[in-house]
Subunit: 526 residues, 2 copies
């Protein structure tokens, strides 16, 4: 029996609030700090490790966190989710993105089929299609191979796949699995599509139209944009486009596409990178085998999220630490700081994943909540960020918890020794240094040069950004966000907050406005 | 006589705190809302308009803001700055970035020269150099024209110039002023330089090394990386590189560069886009005439910042509204949301500009302050963001003030009509709709579909992203940040908060660590 209770009704939450706070600068100093680094460390999948030594926690707090995990029934709720209960209460839908990469529990039947089999079938169809494109069985009208794949999608159909593509592009080139360059068109700003189209050879490009409903205005508009360009080049658009959509969408059976691959209503856009939404573009760009490794990394990380012992479940632990920071310590935002250029757009994807999932003000039953939920998420790669916004992170008046990500090895292996160290060593030295600088600070009589410390961070450390470790990283954050949604008792899988803007934009375009909206429309020449 | 007092010692700040709050949803509804849109509007330079109708202000509050501007002596402080007083108290330096684009007040003499003349001279030298590159007087060793320019720099030597390049790339292509493609290498992650070098033809590339001190570790490391690549291609590196640095730096007189152009200690990195730091790469990419238009837009906007009447001084008004939101209303972060794909990296630049300038915990004299200073700044272009983090902005538990930016026209002019409107119209309709959706909300009995409204935003509206309007936009935010620094009584022009990390990273590389730092270094294989 699962109880869906608000966070502030839980006894262990009260205990957590009343527990003794940790003086981070103090506990991270000297041998005790070294001990924490050794002990506050959890293995993740694909060679990753989650280290939370520099978080404001200690054994006593971790014990209350474990109590909270139990009282909030996080494991049971996760189990209900992957076994096919209606966890998306707002839209009354199952939540099945885990099934796109593995089977965590019982067979889930919906729409008259086994859903794991359905997702596998779709990926098999993509594999077959991608192989035919790569080996020249599927070509353009002139019989020439396609060289570029262009994803047309927005939000979850753009940010995740784009971040994953950028993360693996150089790895694939280095490892000889790079098949085709990928580009992305998302914004309804006509300059977005125009610039991408100007940068490619349309005659050798294959376009992936991604829209679950088949009705996303931005995406359909950009499809028309692309079709015009293909037509102007004397090409048959239907020989250059595939669709990723739901079986019930208007795109599913259309002759306008070379092929259609399916997702369904149980895969939220921001959780869709491991479905056909990411599968088509990434399989075309890097080969289906690479995408399979990515799925495997995610599946292995998902399996860890089933662990009932909190300190062996990195996503659950990360989730509770985040709730403690947000609801007890009162920190309003979180920065994601990957020390890897490959992950340059990973923070933008997490921004959607986290803020769209848990930026909610009512509970999963539409009832009141009396505490804050999802924080603002932002970030840029290090060391770049160090020369940008880290000033505020170190010496600003608010504390911002930090999520570092670092890898021992670069992807391309080309490096240079300057002042006795490689660039990769400098990169790693910087992330290590930052953790300690934020945690411990450094006293200085010149208050302008004084660092108070006490600024918490965790770090995920890996060998290299590979398909498998990227899958594990992605799944970790998806599961963290899910557990936080359980803790806050919100529905992390709908997004009603985006609707009002859509409705009003339609009114503007129909010239059915008055008051301020009419004035703004006039100012913008609509 | 200027008094540098902390914000909370000002009488008008107390008045502002005690003033009646505005019910935004209420005042923005009906004819009153329309009236606000018409009246709460200030012209900026280059055809831009700052509209603050959807901010939580009214005439009474604006009157207290005007009092605050006077009591805080914002105009006098700006005057002192552009007339050459030591405003950067920490580093004991003048603050002269305005002089790179115009002369606002008295001649400023420093280092034995007239500084306006110095900056103009540098830009003239860049103009001459760029023209020679464009007309083939300066070529590679084989006598072939350079086709690509690569900026090597980090932080202020990267984010601003990169954002400006991306903002004008398609405009320049459309308007036949596009001269050379620009690329940027910044991160010490070796994959950054390696990927850029793999994507260009080094034999036809000219590299711009940008480091004020000539000692920035990331930049010197990447220079070596590039020199290796040139050498491996059998090329003479000194015939492919120019430097932008200070006259006193080790790079200034080196034979390693084709030419050197100078900035100085009075131009902070994050304020350097209008100096040689932006001038070299942007003049090479788009032609010096385009860069001149950009400077002109910035200069015209700077002139407006001298206006003593608050409602005719958009940067000062924006600054005080921001302080009101941060210190009185308690909002912790601000989102920058340009409805223009061209401005895709403009928020990342503002993130540095704002957070590095005002993320401070001591006042300009090193004394205590007892109020919050700079907020977290983040953002992505619309409409993309609507499908990402807007859920939290609309329905999250915290209020995030929003800075919209929108343009009537696209840059490239290619468009498509779908459902009776162009993409550009859809883009504009969306930004208009969002302002009203955030301000007014919409009641719904289903609490999950309820929008409380009361979420404040302002919008800057322009005709098009052009060199001049981009310069004006940039200068607006630079001046806003400056005025906010004056209000908070912090030094917005140093960045001591970045030092500790640098020191500790050096220790890691020298293996002079113990405790937690040694453990983290071991985990990262350093």
């Amino acid at each position: 029996m699962i109880n869906w209770n608000n966070l502030d009704t839980l006894k262990s939450y009260e205990e957590m609030k009343n527990a003794k706070k940790v003086n981070l600068a103090q506990v991270m100093t000297g041998e005790n700090g070294a001990k924490r680094v050794r002990e506050y460390s959890v293995p993740m999948a694909a060679g990753l490790t989650y280290n939370y030594a520099a978080k404001e926690v200690d054994d006593a707090l971790l014990a209350t966190f474990e109590e909270l995990a139990k009282e909030a029934q996080l494991t049971e709720k996760f189990e209900a989710l992957y076994n096919g209960e209606v966890i998306n209460t707002g839209e009354k839908r199952l939540v099945l993105h885990h099934l796109t990469r593995g089977q965590l529990g019982d067979a889930v039947n919906a729409d008259g089929v086994d859903k794991r089999a359905f997702y596998v079938e779709q990926q098999n169809k993509i594999t077959e299609f991608a192989n035919k494109v790569h080996n020249g069985e599927i070509t353009n009208a002139a019989g020439e191979k396609f060289t570029t794949v262009v994803q047309i999608g927005i939000g979850g159909s753009d940010l995740g796949p784009r971040a994953m593509y950028l993360a693996l592009e150089n790895w694939a080139k280095k490892n000889n699995t790079f098949k085709m360059e990928a580009k992305f068109i998302s914004n309804v700003d006509p300059d977005d599509a125009a610039a991408v189209l100007n940068s490619i050879d349309v005659a050798h490009s294959i376009f992936v139209l991604v829209s679950k409903s088949g009705t996303t205005l931005e995406t359909l508009t950009n499809e028309s944009f692309v079709k015009d360009a293909l037509k102007n080049a004397g090409l048959d658009a239907s020989k250059h486009m595939i669709a990723v959509t739901s079986e019930t969408s208007p795109l599913a059976k259309s002759d306008d596409y070379l092929a259609a691959f399916f997702m369904d209503d149980y895969i939220g856009g921001r959780f869709s990178s491991t479905s056909a939404v990411g599968g088509a573009v990434l399989s075309l760009a890097f080969g289906p085998e690479v995408f399979a490794q990515f799925l495997d990394g995610a599946a292995k990380q998902d399996a860890l999220a089933k662990n009932t012992k909190l300190t062996e479940n990195p996503s659950m632990l990360d989730a509770i630490i985040g709730v403690y920071e947000r609801n007890v310590l009162g920190y309003p935002s979180t920065a994601v700081l990957p020390y890897s250029q490959a992950l340059s757009r990973f923070p933008a994807h997490l921004q959607q994943l986290d803020m769209e999932s848990n930026g909610k003000s009512v509970n999963r039953d539409g009832g009141e909540i009396n505490y804050v939920t999802g924080p603002v998420i932002f970030g840029e790669p290090g060391t770049n960020g160090q020369h940008s916004f880290y000033q505020l992170l170190h010496q600003g008046t608010d504390v911002t918890p930090l999520q570092f990500i670092g890898y021992k090895n670069s992807q391309m292996g080309t490096d240079v020794v300057i002042q006795g160290s490689t660039s990769q060593q400098k990169l790693c030295a910087n992330v290590a240094a930052q953790i300690v600088a934020f945690a411990c600070g450094k006293a200085d009589d010149d208050r302008n040069k004084n660092f108070e410390g006490g600024r918490p961070s965790s770090i995920i450390i890996g060998e290299q950004v590979t398909p498998a470790s990227l899958g594990a990283l992605l799944a970790h954050f998806e599961n963290k966000v899910m557990f936080q949604g359980f803790l806050w008792n919100v529905n992390s899988f709908d997004q009603e907050g985006v609707q009002l803007g859509k409705v009003l934009a339609k009114k503007v375009l129909a010239h059915e406005t008055d008051g301020a909206l009419k004035e703004f429309s006039d100012l913008l020449n609509i």
